[in-house]
Amino acid sequence: MRVPLSWLREYVDLPAGLTGRELAAELIAAGLEVETVDAAGADLTGPLVIGKVLAIEELTEFKKPIRWCQVDVGNPEPQNLICGARNFGVGDVVAVVLPGAVLPGGFAVGARQTYGKLSEGMICSMREMGIGDDHDGILVLPADTPIGADAIELLGLRDDVLDIAVTPDRGYCLSIRGVAREAAIAYGLPFRDPAAVELPADGAESYPAAIADPAACDRFVLREVRGLDPAAKTPLWMQVRLHRAGMRPVSLAVDVTNYLMLELGQPLHAFDRTKLTGPIVVRRAAPGEQLETLDHVKRALDPEDILITDDSGAISMAGTMGGLTTEIDGSSTDMVIEAAHFDEIGIARMVRRHRLHSEASYRFERGVDRELPLQASYRAVRLLAELGGAQVVPGLTHAQAPVPPVTVAIRADHPDRVAGVAYGRETVLKRLSEVGCAVRGEDVLIVTPPSWRPDLTDPNDLAEEVIRLEGYDNIPVRRPRSVAGRGLTPGQRLRRRTGRALAGAGYVEVLNYPFVSERDWDALQLPADDARRGALRLANPLSDDEPLLRTTLLPGLFRAAVRNIGRGSADLALFETGLVYRPRPGAPSRSPRLGVDRRPTAAELATIEAALPDQPYRVAVVLTGDREPAGWWGPSRPAGWADAVEAARTVAREASAEVTVTADQHAPWHPGRCAALHVGDTLLGHAGELHPRVIQAYGLPPRTCAMELELSRLDPGFTVQAGHLSTYPVATRDVALIVDAPVAAASVEAALRAGAGDLLESIRLFDVYTGEQVGEGRKSLAYALRFRAPDRTLTAEETTASRDAAVAEATRRTGAALRA
């Protein structure tokens, strides 16, 4: 809502020197979100005066017709001016800017030689003076405008305009009336209500109308004018105000309805009376009904739509947009003015259904004063009479449905208890009265909110009125009371450690959008029956390319890697932690919308949860390029599948869990370079090198590696137990075992551990050899075994016996032979 300060001043006697910024500060403190204050014309300096055209000479020797004019600006000598516009004649009154002036936008005006003449200034258009968009011609003023007068003052070229983002609860502030009331309260000044007009006696009924659905409309008022002069122009002052408020002047009839909507907050609609057939009825749409609206769109109407209709059918979508068939046009003289109060929800639904937003619907959705239609419609016909020569048809049509009165009971000390401030009953009464409430009662106040405040329904709403007007700044600060919290949960701590551990291991965290595409499933080489293809779909995705919600973190990571590579970072280790979304098989397709007047039962809550997907927490990494760069120390080490597996171990270690690695074949990994990661019997995820086709599909460098595991499957609730530290010496034995190439090192190690018994302290694979010495299809695995007893120094015989037992078990399980 754009609010010119000069317009407010018409209804509140604000201090003379008050600036828009000063007023804005007060209104912000009262709860109006003033976003900007536009000091229109602040950079304008005169002289800019009213002049009368005395003579015009047409200069024809130029590419376009030019006029050489003499204009009386109140000086002894007329002003000589060059003008390119042609919409004026001798005797017309115009605005002239004289040398030395600066027009809005910093345009300095001087006397200058042009078209072979010395032009001593310029005749101005509305746009040049910053009061309109019209630049087709210069502004011609009424003949009785005083010659030589200061046009800046006279035409209101300087004004501060407050742009207010009105919150949805304050529909009444979508009007000069509402903002002026707030300004009056802020400065403790009287407020003159622009709606307070004396209405004539009702008299005869005007154009016939009836409300068929009282739930759709509880007040419907029509008044009529006849004989409007179609050529009548909107006066300049109204045009300027509309411009300042951000609306374009159209025609007198339209401008008057817009002007009153801005001033009062009551949307109005004007019908061409000659285009109406039969009585008007406010009703819901019939099945299959259509209407072509003013924006030339044919709309299929919904049976819930609220319509204004006559015998011809729908003629307007209530409070939203008029129909084309009854539109007023350049020759309309007889009009029916509609002012009504429609159901907020009905309008809101219609707006959303048809995606049809208008200034009118915007106000109806936020609540319009139900008591305004009589006054607003009367002011409309009076203005059309004054400005357009119309005759007001006596009488009016007033259809209405009864509305129960709203009262709110509130303890007199309720605002005190909400704010933590002792306001006292008198202050509460004063503030509630200021906002227009009628209040009675002693300890418990029975409050009747004013008709323009449908948002005031609860005790806390009223408390807020008192507290905001007393000033949020005047609420004291109370130090937080201390509460005994239990700190982070084990799961929350594990998530923090996971991020720290991966970052410590050289991974950089990325946070990707969780939106993916069906094409990702093919790019990932997922089999047709892979559960990850069963992703949830957004009804209204930002991009039709990515309508699905991720079931894996990998596509986002791949795209982030490609983006980084494209920007020159080729050596990458990225990680992401976050939720994936897994629909539950057999889940209900809808989550019920329970009531809110009580706590839902456990069973009701379960029905809500049942429709939600599983949302487990995952962690994933992607690696490409060098894990260690080449340097003066030696060559680089490219990132490989083992780094990806190690990333899983890094994460699992944070949960004190030991990962068991087994070979697996699982998309999107390379079938020969894919590790399944288990803790106990629980599958955590997979790691390894990506499938070459996946790498190609995402445009990743060859040999890119990745890991993804489900952090939710790690048990964060562990307690590490300290071990016994033997101080006896360690005994070491190295063994080299030859096995068939496909035998997994992990199974050899497991066999060695099992065979070595309790004396084994640790085991470490320190070499893998393939080649002639071990034969085709075989490999040699070299292990360092460390033995130690808790209570004695081991003898050489004991150590050797344990080593032999270990080798024997490896031989038994894996066919390993001790290398000679």
Binding site: R170, R468, G485, A539, L574, R598, G631, W633
Partner: protein, 369 residues
């Protein structure tokens, strides 16, 4: 070699003569001084203090002296041997020092060589910023409450007093899951966690919720469809707006240090009543930039204040929907956008930098923020 003291040799051996002894000592001292290396010194030591050295021999002869002469001879020989031993020790130290000097110089390396061998990692500043914010609340005794990102409309809107078809509901441009009438959405704010916490926890409730939220805004310099919020909630007996202000003060101090003034401006949220926007004084210019002619402040746009979030007293209707008796309990809620906070606290200019995953953006933030 003479046997000790079986008989007395009436003639003193020559080596015990004072001038002989002085000569042996002086020769030893000269040789020690002349030793140019640790190896040479070792030989010198052997020659002048070893078993066959004149001083050692002389020492051995003392026993053969008549008792009357023993003390005097022992004293002289002891002094000579002591002088030699001291000279050896001193020279040994000198030569070791020389060797160390030489070797350590030879072993010098160029310590300015770069060692960027181990890859550097970092956590995303949006993650660490959330942890930092959570820590401020945790230090006040709050706990972290959680909720799903794909959320039921009942939790996201209804339970928070967003009435059906109210404009407030359409203000938060919502992603709907599957269709507009499944009742399932991507949560538009962290506030559904309020309702979940009140339903699942014992009163009083002091929690903070953080995490991803979603609205259908296209990505541009200041908007992103996926963003993060933080929200504190306290529900207890007797809480007032004074407690709310106290908690916000503590939060701002915890996150920005100092004692920056905070102001509340009346506003509207369906789930709080009364509601307010929260501004804090600019931590860079401390409000000085609003003065005429002052240096402009890029952090606050010379407004002097920075809008940090929204807050209010929990709407009693929210308490009712969660089964909390609003006659007995009251509460406050305070929430803010994590991206916005990161932008003004760390001078991030463009939202793209936070969502694109460019490691050049993230690396400087390290492990904590």
């Amino acid at each position: 070699m003479s046997a000790p003291n079986k008989s007395y040799d009436p003639v003193e051996v020559s080596s015990l003569q004072p001038d002989e002894l002085d000569q042996a000592r002086d020769e030893a001292l000269a040789a020690i001084a002349a030793a140019g290396s640790l190896e040479a010194l070792k030989e010198t030591r052997l020659a002048h203090t070893g078993d066959r050295s004149p001083l050692a021999l002389a020492n051995r002869e003392i026993g053969a002296l008549p008792p009357a002469a023993r003390a005097e001879a022992g004293k002289r020989i002891g002094a000579a041997r002591g002088a030699v031993a001291q000279a050896l020790k001193t020279r040994q130290a000198e030569l070791e020092e020389e060797r160390d000097q030489r070797v350590l110089v030879e072993e010098a390396v160029d310590v300015t060589l770069p060692w960027d061998r181990a890859p550097r990692g970092a956590r995303h500043p949006l993650t660490t910023m959330q942890e930092r914010m959570a820590d401020v609340f945790l230090s006040m005794g709050f706990e972290i409450a959680e909720g799903p990102e794909i959320e039921a409309e009942w939790f996201n809107f209804d339970a928070l007093n967003f009435k059906p078809d109210h404009p407030a509901r359409t203000m938060q441009d919502t992603f709907f899951v599957e269709s507009e009438d499944t009742g399932v959405v991507l949560r538009t704010h962290t506030s559904p966690v309020q309702a979940r916490a009140l339903l699942s926890r014992e009163l009083p409730v002091y929690v903070v919720a953080l995490g991803k939220t979603f609205r259908t805004d296209e990505l541009d310099a200041t908007h992103t469809p996926v963003f993060h919020q933080m929200e504190g909630l306290a529900v207890d007996e007797g809480l007032t707006m004074a407690d709310l202000k106290g908690a916000i003060d503590a939060f701002v101090t915890g996150l920005f240090g100092g004692h920056l003034p905070v102001r509340l401006r009346p506003s509207y949220f369906p789930f709080t009543e009364p509601s307010a926007e929260v501004d804090m004084q600019c931590f860079v210019c401390r409000g000085a930039s609003i003065e005429l002619g002052a240096e402009p402040c890029r952090t606050c746009g010379s407004e002097g204040w920075i809008e940090i979030g929204g807050c209010g007293m929990v709407n009693p209707r929210v308490l009712t929907a969660a089964g909390v008796d609003p006659e007995r309990y009251s509460g406050w809620a305070f929430g803010l956008g994590v991206e916005r906070t990161l932008m003004f606290r760390h001078g991030v200019k463009d939202m793209h930098d936070m969502v694109e995953g460019d490691i050049r953006f993230t690396l400087p933030f390290g492990m904590e923020i």
